[in-house]
Amino acid sequence: MNSQILINYIAFPLIKIAILLAAVFTVVAYIVLVERRLLGFFQSRLGPNRVGPLGLIQPVADGLKLFLKEDLIPTNANPFIFKIAPIFSFFPPFVGFAVLTFALPLIMPSGKMHQFAVADVDLGILLILSLSSLGIFGIILAGWSSGSKYPLFGSLRSASQMLAYEIPLTLSVISVIMMAGSFRLSDIVTAQQTYKFYFIIPGIVAFFVYLISVVAETNRTPFDLPEGESEIIGFHTEYSGMRFAFFFMAEYANVVLICMLTPALFLGGYDIPFLNDLELYKTHPYLVNVLGFLSYAAKSTLFAYFYIWIRATFPRYRYDQLLKVGWSVLFPISLLNLFLVALIKLFLMK
């Protein structure tokens, strides 16, 4: 009995976490490389390709270098806050990965079911939302504790930006929750599989609001003001070495998290397009698992590409314009859309 608890509640989660973390770190490291190479192709050049075959060891070299770089704490800084600020930026996206479900449950030969998730909990998407609202502290504290002008400005702008876009983001996610009736990500996907249409169709407005808001939330072009390198040099100006790397990793971990969340919310997650998954699952469970995982990965990659694509294309918004877009365009639209989706759900989606 006791050993059963140990296996079920300690060993299994830990194994899952180990696999997840290995995967996440690899993906986060390589999305940086993919971004650099893709940007290279967009800009008619090659991008990093000399370190290892196709430049594949580049992220390792970068990580190693940053790890071995001296760690500076400026004299003006508040050392304690300066040191803990990266923690607040770093852990929210990583914990967020826990609730992602990657495929339909795996049926063991013994008949037991195993979720493809570290913890597929009832809170699901709400957990990710509430954790991502913590990411702002890393930025505010980093900016304040650096004791320098540029980081302070950068952090405050970033804070206001994240506040402005958090509400449209939440509202558009609420419309998805409404359609599914659950916070749980696997339930949201199941709902899409049962209804046989993806939530992007009734929630097309919500989808676009969501897409714009997450780009702003993750501080990427065209909303990359906090690190608008050419204006105010960014909230992590004073950070060096590994501490800076944590901010860097947090940004890309957020991107990866969003890239994996978006398909689950709007594009049916691990649902295989043009196939009736739930029927097929009864006969060929393993096949559906594998294909579902691949389709999820493909959809996520699509969004990752989208992210990089817009980075190569757009200029940057100005601070006040950005707030204006957030508060006076996206907020009303997402609110009205919520009513619209409620009506659709009430009368059309039985």
Binding site: R36, G40, R45, G47, V60, I233
Partner: protein, 202 residues
Amino acid sequence: MSNINGSDYPSFVGFTKLDKIFDYGRRNSLWPMTFGLACCAIEMICAMCSRYDMSRFGSEVMRPSPRQSDVMIIAGTITLKMAPVVKRLYDQMPYPKWVIAMGACAIKGGPWDDYAVLQGAGKIVPVDVYVSGCPPRPEALIYALLKLQEKIRDPKSAKEPQFIGPNLNEPTRGWMAKGEEIPEVVDKLIKEGHGVNTTQIF
């Protein structure tokens, strides 16, 4: 093991393999600081851009902040007014750090043997690689980057700089150039905090 920064980072006697791995990381991820002084900056931009593409060697991540950069490419003339700024920026970079002096002006003042120009970057910061030319071609800069990588891999392979340079075996704050005095005027400027000595127009 004496490395380019002297005793600045710990080396592991007996763990030479580890050192080699570390150096691999260091040399393949040299992030330059966004820092152009004069004409050579244009050729530096060209080296970063489409045709020459320094990013192939993992060096396109231009960091505006000295805190996150590894190599300072001094591209252009250092005037006496700019010298304290260059020095301060160099100081603010964390170890290990490297300097490439690009172009004739950064090597020995270039054509400017006059009252306004510092005669070579080596007088204020320890330079690792000198790139000659006025301005050097982008290929030359990329070659310099490769030379720097070589130097990080095997410090002994690098020749002592041909031009005046700092003593690489001593821990340095950049001032102790071999057989060279600190230019008095720059020293005075920095000591008095006259990096901010300004000529305001309008």
